[in-house]
Structure formats: structure tokens, C-alpha cells
């Protein structure tokens, strides 16, 4: 008889059925956003979502309502996988994989992910950073709620961008060390010991601010401006270029659009799989912060306050919400309504799959 074999590794797992073809469903807990779409989609009710709110709050330093005075609300020891799948019920149809907006569940058939198999539909969404436009400012890296972006940059050589040089006339220098103490770049070394007097200027550190020259009591420091004296010393624009790379970890990325939102150029572009709305009923909301803790996109946040003050409202950043519905499921006060009005997916001939995709709308 054909049987599913489950292999659990920490909070991740694999379920495999090996017969005519090898079907393997893998779950990556750290990628899961806890939206529960898989649970409501599974045609054989094999999936169960855990208490996502409690799991999210087990994060170190996550405090109740973003309030640093209320650390007692950290649920220590509640450290479970975000969902479980009963391998005796699962038939490895892959619907959970196809409909997972984060690709935390992935079905492969003979090693090929169903996202790469034409007959299976998949969401049309992306996030990318155009290297030609990127100025490596790292704003997207800071803003990304999933820590999915790495921007590495190579800065120009500072000495190449300094507009002049200083020189010391040792005949006039009395090695008093005033310039050394004044220098903000720590570019000057002075030895004042009698008989061993010396002064050395590190041209890689000097920024030509001229504080040394202005503070020298004997006027021993000469300044040579590169820009105004000799054209040969002009700064080469190529020396000022910042190079680097910006990489999005597509496994963690949920296509929320923060990168595009904060990008000062046109480098970051994204497309979400769902369109819809997010509403918070401020009358019902008790600002407990559960939604902010589970939101994978930082679309709902609680302002961080100091002192015994109650937060009035959650802050909603609608443009970054991916309409996954994790907050709605977690909210203990039924204060949140997430609606999906449009689902963008590649075509398929399967009526059941289309029905399941269309059922995401509400």
C-alpha cells in the first residue's frame, strides 16, 4: 500500500509519497507568515494552523503593545511550528503550496517545484532591485520587514575625494602638538620629546578641513588646494562612484513593497499577488498589538511609547499590506477585516484549482 512518509527537522518537515512519481511537500517554518490560507484551502482538512499570535510574541524583545514597560507579556517557552499537517490525511495535491503567498509550503514532483510546472497555477508577483538604478543607499535593507534584502557597497577611497593637502614647514614647527589635539580626523601624529621631535600627517585620514592651519601658533602649516591651484589635482568623478550589489532573498520576500516605497530612485519594483483592503475598527481595537506582532509586512504597527501611557491607535500602512489576513485571524477583538478583491495567477485548466484561487476573494 502506498504510504506518506513524514520527516520532521526542528520546526520544518517533509511529507513524501513515492510511487509512479515522487511527490514531496516541504514546509519551512521561518518562511511561513501564518496567514492560514493553506488551512482553509486544503481539500482534505489535513492542515492545522497553530496560535500564530502567541508564537510571534515569543520573539526576543517583543513587548506587549510595543510598550517597553510591559515585558511580562512575552510568552516564553511557546515555541512551536506555525502549522502542522497530518501526513495520514494529506494526499499531496499541492494546493497549499500553490496558494501559499509566502511559498513556505512547496510541493515538488520528481524534484520539480509545481511553480515551475505549467499546468499548475501560481501567483503573479515579484520584487526586484535594478542594479543600474540602485545607488546602494541601503534604505530598503533597513525598511524590509523580513530582513530579506542585503545591500553590499564599496565606498570610494576617501583620500581621492579630499579637495587639498596640507604640508608642514618643519623650520617653523615647534612640535607643540596643538594641531594634533585639534585634528577631528586624528590624522596628525606629533612627537614633542626633546631631541626626537617629529610631525607626521596621514594623508589618507586628512580631510583638508584646515583646523590645524588655523590653530597653529607659528603658522607652520601650508595648505595646497587641489581644486583652485592646479587643474591636474581636480577630483576625478570616477573616484566618487559607490559600487555594490543589492540582493533580495526571494525565499523570505513577501512582495510587500517597502523596498519600492523607500527607494529614492526607481531601482526597487514590486507586484503583490492580491488586491483588496485592510480595515481596523478603532471602536473594537484594544491596541493589544497582536496584529502588529504577526504582520509580515509591518503594515500594522503600534507606536513605541515610554511610560504608563495607553496607545490609542494601531498605525496602518495600507500600501504595504499584502492582504494575507494573518492579522484578522489573530485579532482577539474581531477588529480587523481583510478583503481580497483580486487574485493574479497564471492560467490553469483545472476547475477545482480555479475555484480554490477564486475562493480567496471575499
Amino acid at each position: 500500500m502506498i504510504k506518506n512518509v513524514k520527516e520532521v527537522k526542528d520546526k520544518d518537515f517533509n511529507i513524501e509519497r513515492s510511487a509512479e512519481e515522487i511527490r514531496n511537500l516541504s514546509f519551512k517554518n521561518h518562511v511561513c507568515i501564518g496567514c492560514g490560507i493553506c488551512e482553509s484551502t486544503c481539500p482534505v482538512s489535513a492542515i492545522e494552523l497553530e496560535e500564530i499570535g502567541a508564537i510571534s510574541r515569543n520573539k526576543i524583545n517583543t513587548t506587549f503593545s510595543g510598550h517597553d514597560k510591559l515585558p511580562q507579556n512575552i510568552h516564553k517557552g511557546f515555541d512551536k511550528a506555525k502549522l502542522t499537517i497530518d501526513e495520514h490525511k494529506c494526499v499531496l495535491c499541492g494546493m497549499c503550496s500553490g496558494l501559499c503567498p509566502a511559498d513556505a509550503l512547496e510541493l515538488t514532483i520528481n524534484g520539480v517545484p509545481i511553480a515551475n510546472i505549467d499546468s499548475y497555477p501560481h501567483f503573479i508577483s515579484f520584487a526586484e532591485i535594478d542594479d543600474d538604478e540602485c545607488i546602494y543607499c541601503q534604505k530598503c535593507q533597513t525598511a524590509c520587514p523580513r530582513d530579506a534584502i542585503t545591500v553590499e557597497r564599496k565606498l570610494p577611497n576617501r583620500a581621492d575625494l579630499v579637495s587639498g593637502e596640507i604640508e608642514v614647514n618643519e623650520d617653523d614647527c615647534i612640535y607643540c602638538g596643538i594641531c594634533k589635539e585639534m585634528c577631528p580626523a586624528e590624522a596628525i601624529e606629533v612627537d614633542s620629546v626633546t631631541g626626537e621631535e617629529s610631525i607626521v600627517i596621514d594623508k589618507d585620514k586628512c580631510v583638508y578641513c584646515l583646523v590645524c592651519k588655523k590653530s597653529c601658533p607659528t603658522d607652520a602649516i601650508k595648505a595646497v588646494c587641489r581644486i583652485c591651484s592646479y587643474g591636474d589635482y581636480d577630483i576625478n568623478p570616477e573616484d566618487a562612484v559607490v559600487t555594490g550589489s543589492a540582493i533580495i532573498d526571494q525565499e523570505l520576500c513577501v512582495k510587500c513593497g517597502w523596498c519600492e516605497g523607500v527607494c529614492p530612485t526607481d531601482a526597487a519594483k514590486h507586484k503583490k499577488p492580491f488586491k483588496g483592503s485592510l480595515d481596523v475598527d478603532q471602536n473594537k481595537c484594544q491596541t493589544c498589538g497582536a496584529c502588529a506582532d504577526v504582520c509580515p509586512c509591518d503594515a500594522l504597527t503600534i507606536p513605541s511609547l515610554k511610560g504608563p501611557v495607553k496607545v490609542d491607535n494601531v498605525i496602518k500602512r495600507d500600501e504595504y499590506c499584502i492582504r494575507c489576513g494573518a492579522c484578522e485571524k489573530t485579532c482577539p477583538n474581531d477588529a480587523i477585516t481583510v478583503k481580497i478583491t483580486n487574485v493574479d495567477y497564471t492560467p490553469t485548466n483545472s476547475k477545482t484549482w480555479i475555484e480554490a484561487l477564486e475562493a480567496l476573494k471575499n
Binding site: I2, G94, I109, Y120, T352
Partner: protein, 149 residues
């Protein structure tokens, strides 16, 4: 003893094929046995009539049990498929409804290898169906109907 019943099943298959107008060489090829054995079968030699009776009883079982018994008696899956397909008592109409989710469980379960997936839907080659109804019984969405014609 199972060997004799296996011969009985092959005999019944050979006779059926003969009735369908196939020549001895073709029958030998189909059953992967040599031509002289086919000749013996068709001339009623070297066979215990009792084994043929038992074989007949087996082919008369419910399709699921016929398949199971044949699997117990004969090892070669390809041979089992041929014998079951030729000796089955009925043809079947196979229906896959649109509620099929394309999980492929039926593909894996079908011993006769007559199901494949096409565009996330099971496609059953009816003429190869033995009527065992394993697919119908195991389908998680009850999307398969196997009907006797």
C-alpha cells in the same frame, strides 16, 4: 500448486485471445511464453483440468478480488495486467468529475496503470480499467465513478 493455477489463468487467456482471432505466435508474444506451450494449451494438453476450474473461479470473482488473487499467483506485473485485462468479465465506463484536484493518488494506486494526470485532472483509459474500484474508493474528493457497461 499456484504454478498450476497460473497455467490455468494463462490457458484461459490464450483461449480468449484465440477467440479474438489471434494466431499462436501473437498469443505467445502477448503472454511472454513460448509458442509450443500455447499450442499445448490450445490443444488441451499438459494441463490439469482442475487447475483450469480454479482459474475460472478466480476470473469469476469480483474484479477487485480477481486482481488480488492474480497478484498472489503471478509475480510479473505486466503479465498480471494482460491476464486481468483479457479475462475480465465486463467493460467499464470511467468518469472523472471536475472536482478532481489532481493529487495523483489514483495514478499511484492503479495497478493496471490506466490513469494519468492531464492538466491537474485524472484521465482514465477505460479499456484498460479492470473495475477494481481502488481509485474510486480512495479518491479524497470522490471524483471518480467506475460503472459497469
Amino acid at each position: 500448486m499456484p504454478k498450476h493455477i497460473a497455467s490455468g489463468l494463462k490457458y484461459l487467456t490464450a483461449v480468449k485471445l484465440k477467440e479474438q482471432g489471434q494466431n499462436q505466435q501473437k498469443i505467445a508474444d502477448e503472454l511472454d511464453i513460448d509458442r509450443s506451450t500455447v499450442s499445448h494449451y490450445l490443444n488441451g494438453r499438459n494441463l490439469s483440468w482442475n487447475s483450469i476450474d480454479v482459474a475460472k473461479t478466480i476470473t469469476d470473482l469480483e474484479p477487485k478480488d480477481f486482481l488480488k488473487m492474480t497478484q498472489a499467483i503471478i509475480q510479473n506485473p505486466e503479465q498480471i495486467r494482460k491476464i486481468v485485462n483479457i479475462c475480465k468479465k465486463n467493460e467499464y465506463e470511467t468518469i472523472v468529475e471536475d472536482s478532481c484536484i489532481g493529487c495523483g493518488l489514483c495514478v499511484d494506486l492503479c495497478f493496471m496503470k490506466c490513469i494519468k494526470l492531464d492538466s491537474l485532472k485524472a484521465q482514465i483509459t477505460s479499456r484498460h480499467c479492470c473495475g477494481c474500484q481502488t481509485c474510486e474508493n480512495e479518491c479524497p474528493t470522490n471524483s471518480i465513478k467506475i460503472l459497469e457497461i
